[in-house]
Symmetry: C2
Subunit: 193 residues, 2 copies
């Protein structure tokens, strides 16, 4: 065998993720990442292959940490209207807490990287699709039970809700006032009536 890896892989990716959220892809240099992670540049390249590789790892961690829990919540089987509201309130809280300091990596990747990087674009599509699909299931179920308005297709509503969440994240970068974001979210949720 050989020397064991010294650094904490997950903590490293988490540190890189925060750096990318703070300054974007192009705005974060390898030297910034060495400071943020505590690794030397050689170690970064040994572990991730390239700056893009580390970015993809950070994006995957972000999806796992922030998108997957939303999907799990939606799949928990709880009341449709209630669980969707929970998702929105959670998103608003998070944006209000650190939306000024840290951008959503998914929105950032969409704007800054999706055009150049097919692997990023694929991940974004995948996450969006999963979220839409989870929302669709909850909405369709809710419509059957009469909890959600049935005069619009669950597909359209699901797409709309994802779009609204993206919009909230953008707005958080301009004005992260919680009350304003929440009022916007309330209107979006009222589409389910």
């Amino acid at each position: 065998m050989a020397r064991t890896r010294e650094f904490d892989f997950d903590a490293t990716v988490a540190a890189a993720m925060e750096a990318f959220r703070r300054n974007g892809y192009e705005g974060t240099s390898i030297r910034d990442l060495t400071k943020a992670t505590g690794l030397g540049s050689g170690s970064i390249y040994a572990a991730f292959g390239s700056k893009e590789g580390l970015y993809l790892a950070a994006l995957d961690l972000y999806r796992q940490r922030y998108a997957a829990p939303l999907i799990d919540m939606l799949r928990s089987g709880n009341d449709a209207r209630e669980v969707i509201r929970e998702v929105f309130v959670g998103a608003v809280d998070e944006i209000a807490r650190d939306g000024k300091r840290l951008a959503c990596l998914i929105v950032g990747a969409t704007v800054e990287r999706a055009r150049d990087d097919l692997r990023v674009a694929e991940r974004l599509r995948s996450t969006t699709r999963s979220l839409e699909s989870a929302l669709f299931d909850v909405l369709a179920e809710g419509q059957l039970r009469g909890q959600i308005a049935a005069d619009r297709s669950a597909t359209d509503l699901a797409t709309f809700l994802v779009t609204s969440l993206q919009g909230l994240r953008v707005m958080g970068g301009i004005n992260a006032d919680r009350a304003t974001l929440m009022r916007s979210a309330e209107v979006a949720l009222s589409c389910l009536d």
Copy 2:
């Protein structure tokens, strides 16, 4: 006096704007901008002072070209419901046409620059405020005339609609399919019922 400026100022800013929309702020170098505008770097610095100066000029042109017309439409005095629909359909068309290639500079600036650059942040707040205010007036008028549901405040609806537009622009970067975007927009518009 002295020699007159040779290059077309507006065309130069327009070329820079497209470059920034295509590759973002950090992703566009001064050398890229010399190729896009046809100017030498010396001329760029004489006219705009810095890369940031040219970016601000590009952002201002974007606001003038894409945000101001929306506001003018809203202020035209036409039927509330109709004019708001027009704004959304116009936005969807534009995103579907070149959302894959060219990002919305406002969303891009929010994600990539607003945290670092106060002058950018101020411009974004100003544009958002103007758009919200124009929407508010149209909505309030529509509510008085019974064309728009009056059970929600016009302020909230205006904020929500701006958020929806931002969301559509982000979604356009992931999946610019016109029909999907339009169905999302339709749901948002149905909040006015």
